[in-house]
Amino acid sequence: MKADQVLIAHHDVLRGLLRQLAETTEDQTAQRGRLRDELLRELEVHTQIEDELFYPAVRDVSPLLSLAHAEHRQIDDQLATVMRTPLDDPDFGTEVGMLSATLHHHTFEEEERMFPQSHALGEERLEELGRQLQERQRELTRSGAMRLIVRLKRMTLRHV
């Protein structure tokens, strides 16, 4: 798979999780908690593979790196708000809606603008980059360090 296809597939995972989370109600706190933790983990992996591999690779063919970083930051900040909001709070849905809008704008920016720009790298390079992204994604998903970071982040964000 080419790099942009790998990332679009992961965007689909993130969008799916957010859609499921948005469909939950105030009394489904267990399900909300599970989906929220899964979203936190996947977003952490996604940010890391983009920051580590994809953005440095497209630095010379896309002028949108600063925007992508700014959008990651906005997603991060809103995710923190969602983590702080109690699962049975009436505001939970509103904050998830805001996270969803932020994520959708970021994926739109990448899929409609940055990924077409990345095609200037050529098929071969994109295939190679795609392999690296998939490998790193698998590695991070399994990694104990990543699990620890996510757990620490979850605990901290809930208590501040």
Binding site: A70, Q74, D76, R84, L157, V160
Partner: protein, 295 residues
């Protein structure tokens, strides 16, 4: 080369604010200057620059024996005021800098590095001023600190006047002065912002509660296209850095933007939405457009 350390520093700032929890937003808005209507940083830096300049005058008088008995302790107090002002200025500067892009981000990083070095020198100078026999070294480190501060202030000027960091990026055209049709009212969906171009002026329309409201389509902070933004709790959110705007007044309710959006009056005529620029002193317009001047 500077982007690596730049992003690391930003991650550090981001983490600090995440740990501040609910207090992070009001704190950042305070430091950006949302309450002031201008960036707070350029206003606050006059404290260290002014105090340290005064201290250099007092140091000069004391060194040449013309300062009288109080000059030494007066210099010590002014250096101290400058150090306190510099710490506060650094907090405002870093808070603004975290949202800078590309060239401005790199220049800002060098600006911050020079200022931090100057702050270090002045802190050392302040410590020496409390010790016997260190007066000469205290004046020397202060002089070096002042030279760095002035060099760094030049970079700060470049950030504002060349890179436009902290300046107003909204479109301040006085047009359209007469009600101008922009689109069919049936094209609007409640709660979904739509960006339109009115003879070159970017405008965002938002339908809801039986009315249509219209504000400028370019974010005052860094010129983001607000037509790609969304609503959260009835406010328009900037897609780039998350500034939020009141649709009735155009005022930012959350930074980093410190300036209000231009507002437009709207009316419905034959099923079409028409808009007209609404001026007030907080959201001024140029009286003559470039097109008019060149006619």
């Amino acid at each position: 080369m500077l982007d690596g350390p730049g992003y690391q520093l930003e991650h550090g700032i981001s983490l600090t604010y995440l740990l501040a929890g609910r207090r992070a937003r009001p704190l950042q808005d305070l430091l950006h200057g949302v309450w002031l209507g201008h960036p707070l940083h350029p206003a606050l830096v006059t404290v260290p620059v002014g105090a340290w300049t005064a201290a250099s005058v007092l140091d000069g008088l004391a060194a040449t024996g013309r300062g009288g008995p109080g000059a030494g302790s007066a210099a010590r107090v002014t250096v101290g005021v400058g150090v306190a002002g510099a710490v506060a200025s650094a907090a405002t500067g870093l808070t603004d800098w975290q949202h800078a892009h590309d060239g401005a981000r790199r220049v800002g990083l060098v600006h911050a590095g020079l200022n931090s070095t100057a702050l270090g020198l002045y802190s050392w100078s302040l410590l020496d001023r409390g010790r016997r026999g260190r007066a000469g070294r205290a004046r020397l480190t202060a002089a070096a600190g002042l030279a760095l501060t002035l060099a760094s202030s030049w970079l700060g000027g470049a950030l504002s006047y060349r890179h436009g960091l902290g300046t107003d990026h909204a479109d301040r055209s006085p047009e359209p002065r007469r009600f101008t049709p922009v689109l069919q009212a049936s094209d609007l969906v409640d709660g979904q912002p739509v960006g339109v171009d009115v003879d070159g002026v970017p405008v965002v329309l938002v339908a809801g509660d039986g009315e249509v409201r219209a504000v400028g389509g370019r974010c005052p902070h860094q010129g983001a296209p607000l037509g790609e933004g969304w609503l959260h709790r009835g406010e328009l959110v900037c897609p780039w850095h998350g500034s939020r705007f009141d649709l009735g007044t155009g005022e930012p309710t959350q930074g980093p933007s410190t300036a209000p959006l231009p507002c437009f009056e709207t009316r419905l005529r034959e099923g079409r939405v028409e808009v007209r620029r609404r001026g007030n002193w907080r959201s001024p317009t140029a009286t003559t457009t470039v097109e008019e001047a060149s006619r």
